[in-house]
Amino acid sequence: MTKRFKKLSWLITCLLLLSMALIGCSSDSDKQTKSASGEAVTKKGGDLHVAIDAQPPTLDPQISTTTATKEIARHIFETLLVLNPDYEVQPMLAESYDVSEDGLTYTFKLRQGVKFHNGKEMTAEDVVASMNRWLTKSTRAANAIGKGQFEEVDKYTVQLKIEKPTIGVLDVIASTNQFAGIMPKEIIDNAPKDGITEIVGTGPFKFVEWKPDQYIKVAKYDDYKPVDAPSDGLAGKKEALVDNIIFEVVTDGSTRLGGITTGQYQIAYQIPSDNYEQISSSSDMKPILNLYGGLSFVFNKKQGPFTDEKLRQAVNTGINNKDVLIGAFGNKKFYRLDNGLMYKDQKKWYTDAGKEYYNQNDKEKAKQLLSESGYKGEEIRILTTRDYEYSYNSAVVMKEELEKIGIKVKLDVVDWATLTSKRNDPAAWDAFITGFSPVSLPTQTLPLDPNYAGWPADEKLQQFTEQIRTAASDKDAYAKWEEMQEYAWKEYVPYIKIGDYYTFHVYRNNEIKGNTYFEGMILWNTSLTK
């Protein structure tokens, strides 16, 4: 037996040595590939493997606000108008557009010869059906456009008629979230309530296959007709340079990291922020930091202690926003202290009005405001979830901050689906923490919408919204927005934007090139180099 044991231990030692030798060899061979490859050479075709962090509930871009839907659907569907990286409106399926002098009629000339993936030519009837469906599905669109309707003028011209002049109609049509993708009329006519079942658009990639919980495959659309303009963000020329994009659903963050490290995927979404330094120092991979939104503490203004304006002001005065952001995101690359309710990157609308009321961290003044408020020591319920770690971590720091100024706090930790349902019940919570992604217009800011959870049904706030909407010019609208933001920080405090935050995606820089990012990954004009 001892002999056998000796043999066994020899075998194990040999195996260990062999593995160590192979570890050495594998990294050597990597180095060789790099030096041999030298300058990256563009390869035509091939499969691009992208690891996404969640399966989209649907690929119908008109009904869902989820990020996964937007990220995939933007490669399949196109809109009349799009945004360039400076958030300026540019034509896409529309060749040109024109607004009447009274601001009530918008005319869109369509590009001719654009074909859907089913071979049919896109004409006015498809655009009218798509846009009118979108107006009924997207509350934001309906809010901005009001009771507008699209009508066919001729085969290649459509008109949008609205009841009263309003700003930002074109920005909303070009918005990237829950976007107005154009689909064939027949598909819309036959669509069930929970989204279209036939995925047919006009984009550079056509839908091929969806294996639930595994992957969504799109392929190059050979008859794609690009715009004759240089590529710029979502605007300009689009060209599918790979044969297929396979969006693989990989819900576990460490698995996505493992896959991108070994080259199983060329792109991986949402890598855990702890791995940022590791990725940055790698020569094979590059991080893409992207603005995800504003971390926000939303008050319940319909019921409970936070109906008291003074109490909301006390919270805003007392908290240290930086501490909350550090607690939530750790690395300072992942947050930005900024009070703009529209983001710094959105040059057209950004303002720092009311910044003196942001990140005050004045505990004494907060206590003073607290004593002036009607707060009687009730326990405040903060609704949060561990499905998004930053939400939970920031809630923990907020709890401490609030306790420092003498407010009792209880965290109500639930799963994400429960949170979205519970927050619609005003009796169930006092505050919740979430992130809001950028919107095209200030009037679309969700936590300022009187119908959104938190219910900021303040008369003055609504007046501002109406004044911005019906302003005579963009300049007037901007001036009103500045006033509105100042009022929101100084007096009404419907919510506290704690700060901007970023997430990061990773791509293998020596295997692909041409990929860009604007409110999501852009994978047309992207080619494989290996």
Binding site: D213, E248, S254, T255, T262, A417
Partner: protein, 317 residues
């Protein structure tokens, strides 16, 4: 024998009925609903309410339950809100990966456990026994997914021998299919092996002390024959029970391991469906898993008779 099988199958009915009611109640009493998940985090309350109405989620719970049960009796488990297909089809799609993984894990487990258990029993009380049983304790204690992560770091990231995660069906080729399953099978199999090895050891030790083994040895039978033909076969019933139970657990889906290795199996289907509140899929899958688990146990009971004729004789008398 036939009446025994029939009785066991009939006893399934109340089990499935209770499971269906409990599952239905739990998921319908949990806040959250598919409409909100479909429309996304920034959807308005009105839009969510409208879709709830359209999907029939506002009907009274008992009405929804009876509607569902009526469908089940007609062989229709309903449609998934998310996958745009019948639940039965969704389950069948996810069953393939789970079954492949379960079989491979079970083979790994048995290949590790039986030799270890037998050797430990033969060398009872010695250092070999202590080492093997210590190892098996370690196997039970380490969570599968953690072991899985270690395997990923060593075999996939450092050595680049195997893909990190994912799944390819058998139709893509045998090696393509297997190479994605090796690591998860080892991760799951070692944990199960620990259980089976411990059971093998104790059952073997008990049997080795019985008189017929002493007789066999005194007859001068070769030790290998004593161990494998007489002891193992007689000690096998409890081992088979554990093997059956572990296989049942594997078929029910190893949720965390499937998530770590991104295998689209039953475990991941259940987890995802709970997150999405895809009611029909949760109900259908739990019902299917219960049925499979009970049937596997029934099969194990029937196998007792094959392995040990005494069981068969007792039942017949």
């Amino acid at each position: 024998m036939k009446s025994y099988i029939l009785k066991r199958i009939l006893s399934l009915i109340p089990v499935l009925l209770i499971v269906s009611i409990v599952v239905f109640m739990i998921i319908h009493l949990t806040p959250g609903d598919p409409a909100a998940v479909i429309l996304g985090p920034e959807a308005s309350h009105e839009d969510v309410k409208q879709l709830q109405e359209e999907l029939g989620l506002n009907d009274p719970v008992y009405q929804q339950y009876f509607h569902w049960v009526e469908g089940v009796f007609q062989g229709n488990l309903g449609d998934s809100f998310f996958m745009d297909k019948p639940v039965t089809e969704a389950i069948l799609e996810h069953l393939g990966p789970t079954i492949s993984l379960a079989i491979l894990s079970q083979i790994t487990a048995i290949l590790i456990a039986l030799p270890l258990g037998i050797m430990a029993a033969r060398k009872r009380g010695t250092a070999t026994d202590q080492t093997f049983m210590g190892l098996s304790l370690l196997g039970i204690s380490i969570p599968h997914f953690l072991f899985g992560l270690f395997l990923i770091i060593i075999l996939a990231i450092n050595l680049r021998w195997l893909p990190v995660a994912g799944y390819k069906p058998l139709s893509a080729g045998f090696w393509e299919h297997i190479k994605y399953l090796i690591m998860p099978a080892i991760a799951l199999g070692t944990g199960q092996a620990a259980l089976i090895a411990r059971m093998t050891r104790s059952s073997m030790v008990e049997t080795l002390n019985l008189n017929f083994i002493k007789t066999a040895r005194s007859k001068g039978l070769h030790e290998r024959k004593v161990i494998y033909k007489h002891t193992l076969r007689n000690a096998f019933i409890p081992i088979l029970t554990v093997i059956g139970q572990t296989f049942g657990t594997l078929v029910a889906g190893a949720a965390v391991t499937e998530t770590v290795f991104n295998i689209p199996g039953i475990g991941q289907l259940i987890i995802n469906s709970v997150e999405r509140r895809d009611y029909m899929v949760i109900q259908g899958t739990v019902l299917m898993v219960t049925l499979t688990y009970v049937l596997i146990n029934l099969l194990v009971d029937l196998l007792y008779g094959v392995i040990d004729p005494r069981v068969r004789l007792k039942k017949e008398s």
